[in-house]
Symmetry: C2
């Protein structure tokens, strides 16, 4: 599935043209977002780890080359030249979990033109999706401080990789875990999950289903109570808890998955508390997103945790980023795309972020790579000559970095509604470079 042929045809047609011309000078491409989705105040970078894996593993397999040679579009000498192609370039990037804003590159690739071009499609495919999901999941995290948040979205994620990578991206952004088993195995993400309605329905009655499940999972029984009648089921949980107490089996939590989650949670909390089950948690799910969670908590619904799926991991209100991976320099000369509404800032760039130690971020400045500005530079080297410069940080450290970033966002940007934009200035040096590039381009067109 992740063959090197997982790319756009035009990458290969361009490569053949470059091959025929003998063109393969050093190119610099940068990945950035053009603008924020509606109602969003920031983005959170994610996906770098998978990009670096992709670059380190880049090669055409013999059967892929055979297919290319036989497809009727490419000549043999060009196809043969691909056999030795590896990624030999350098990469600088913002660490995963870093908050960023439009026009700020989060990744720069500097490599021979053909390599830097070939990777475009998959680099965007990996960075845009995880960044999209991390940015959405961060909103859910900000809307529910202190609450347990679990990714429930594999089934309606867009395919296998989307399910896995959205578990990863939402964990980075502050979710506590995922229901996706493979994400637990692969990334060490804590797993959550107990039973579906079918489990209740397959049994003769609900109380039997609850009892059997608790016996099979004496350490981890969250009981799903909305299959027939939520409050009646809560009473059955009370009866079962008394019965199981003698066996030393606790009920951990109940889950409500339909109806008015707020109203049910108040009634269920009252039923549980009246029976002394104050430690049994209430977990809610069903079409949740940051707005639904915020609305429940604004009414003080006694819900301890949320399963958030589809709307988070498809970023349902805006399921894509207006982002690009653009040529900014070739053979030492800065370039700039001028297409209407799609112009870019030329050259290799750096982002400096100002903030008092530990205080909220005060503003960013976008400038050329060789400029110095007040604040901290956000892009730093991660790969040289096709090899990582250091082992990747553990996912827990990435998640801590993300949490620290969210904590330092100016308060209005942490809300769910659109706030005045975070200040991102373009430094004089970059403005000057853009003017110079424009003059040269006018000359060439």
């Amino acid at each position: 599935m992740t063959s090197t042929l997982l790319t756009d045809l035009y990458q290969l047609t361009m490569l053949q043209a470059y091959f025929d011309e003998g063109m393969n000078g050093t190119a610099a491409f940068e990945f950035f977002a053009r603008k924020l989705p509606p109602r969003r105040n920031f983005l959170m970078a994610a996906g770098l780890e998978q990009v670096l894996d992709f670059l380190e593993g880049l090669r055409f397999e013999p059967d892929e080359l055979e297919w290319l040679a036989g497809c009727g579009r490419f000549h043999r000498r060009f196809v043969d030249s691909l056999a030795d192609l590896r990624f030999t370039g350098d990469v600088v990037a913002m660490p995963e979990g870093t908050v960023f804003f439009p026009d700020e590159p989060i990744l720069r690739v500097v490599a021979p033109l053909r390599e830097a071009q070939l990777i475009e499609t998959r680099v965007i495919n990996l960075l845009q999706f995880q960044t999209l999901v991390a940015s959405k999941a961060a909103r859910v995290r900000l809307a529910a401080p202190g609450k347990l948040l679990v990714d429930f979205g594999l089934r309606r994620a867009h395919g296998a990789e989307a399910g896995l990578l959205s578990a990863r991206a939402s964990f980075i952004a502050g979710f506590d875990g995922s229901a996706t088993v493979e994400a637990g195995r692969r990334y060490g993400i804590p797993l959550f999950g107990t039973m579906a309605h079918s489990f209740i329905q397959a049994h003769r009655d609900e109380a039997t289903a609850f009892r059997r499940f608790a016996h099979s999972h004496p350490q981890a029984s969250t009981l799903l109570i909305d299959t027939y009648d939520t409050e009646k089921a809560a009473h059955k949980v009370v009866a079962l808890a008394r019965e199981l107490a003698g066996e030393g089996i606790p009920i951990q939590a109940v889950r409500i998955d339909s109806g008015d989650l707020g109203a049910h949670s108040f009634r269920v909390r009252a039923i549980l508390d009246a029976a002394g089950l104050t430690k049994v948690k209430i977990f809610a799910s069903s079409n949740l997103d940051e707005d639904a969670v915020a609305a429940l908590l604004a009414h003080d619904a006694p819900i301890d945790g949320f399963g958030v799926g589809t709307r988070m991991n498809t970023s349902a209100d805006h399921p894509y980023l207006d982002c690009a991976y653009k040529l900014e320099e070739y053979e030492g000369v800065a370039r700039r795309k001028r297409s209407e509404g799609k112009a870019t800032w030329p050259g290799r760039k750096q982002v400096f972020r100002r903030a008092e130690a530990g205080a909220a971020f005060a503003g960013d400045r976008l400038t050329t790579n060789d400029d110095e500005q007040p604040g901290q530079p956000l892009l730093s080297p991660v790969m040289r000559a096709g090899r990582r410069l250091a082992p990747s940080p553990p996912l827990g450290a990435v998640r801590d970095h993300a949490a620290a970033q969210l904590a330092r966002l100016p308060a209005p940007l942490r809300g769910l509604e659109e706030a005045p934009p975070y200040p991102v200035e373009v430094a004089a040096r970059l403005l000057e470079l853009a003017r110079r590039v424009d003059a040269e381009v006018l000359d060439r067109t």
Copy 2:
């Protein structure tokens, strides 16, 4: 990536409970959509092929079992029991490309409970995504009759599998091809694509870039003309076409990727026609969806083909289906989920569709599996005892079936705006079964 552990944790916790109880009777689950997304008049089934592949290949690998045994949630006897687990059930389904409506099952699995339960997550993950994309792509096809439509969406698809499967689903729904090379290799989908803006920018000037590309691809040169100034570039195409005519190299098409696509297309068409290049096609891309395409064609924009990406293959206006895979029968007894707002029709079901031969579909009837109704039954057996009953139809045949389905949709449903709903009746026999199941459930709660 497509490990059997690509599932929700609760599938495995339920399976252990069933194992402990010795429960593994015959279960029937059905996949259906609860309702249409806003502004949609129909859905188009897709993804069955990948579901059947998944079922035929279902097994736990030794390293997966080791991980499960070591993760602290499952006991050894249960994990050992998974080593022999295969899918041994039966499947009935609507053929891919079939148009369907809410509450109509497009797939039924009848299998031992544990098998039928375990597969839930991935079955939904595969069916909902391809159905979502095929349903969206069908709208683009209906909005642009006779026009060339190409999937351009891999880069902003949600990961690798989403890119591949959206190429497949959009081809089924009537797209002519894709830019995704691996989709060409794997599914035989026709490929399209030529150059990016970076190709123009990497060259000294636009005319040189055009000439070099045409020489490298003498059979297939579509030139991207919006990097600097679209109309100036069209004049360069005219000059180049004259130059290349002597060498017998034709220019096939130009592509416009920014600005007011309609206005540019009129001006570019005039420039090309004035030079006698009436056969050079105009291809347009840039944030297109069915509405944008329809608006361009409503103004008679002289555009011959469209590259449609992100908004189609993320189904951007509604990136998920309200769909489910629900237990409808266990050990011969019909079941029904009664959760508020999420109730389902019980038992094994069939859908009959009425239509005069070759005429538009006149209405569907949802009924029990053992009932007969006027019209044609839409669900038929595709797998028995875990094996396909017949080789899968070639993708071209699936695409033809889809086109025939769209042609027989009542005319108002083929429009982009919401039409009065297509008539789907529930037959007396199913209503009666639902009443009986409700009475039994009341008895049990």
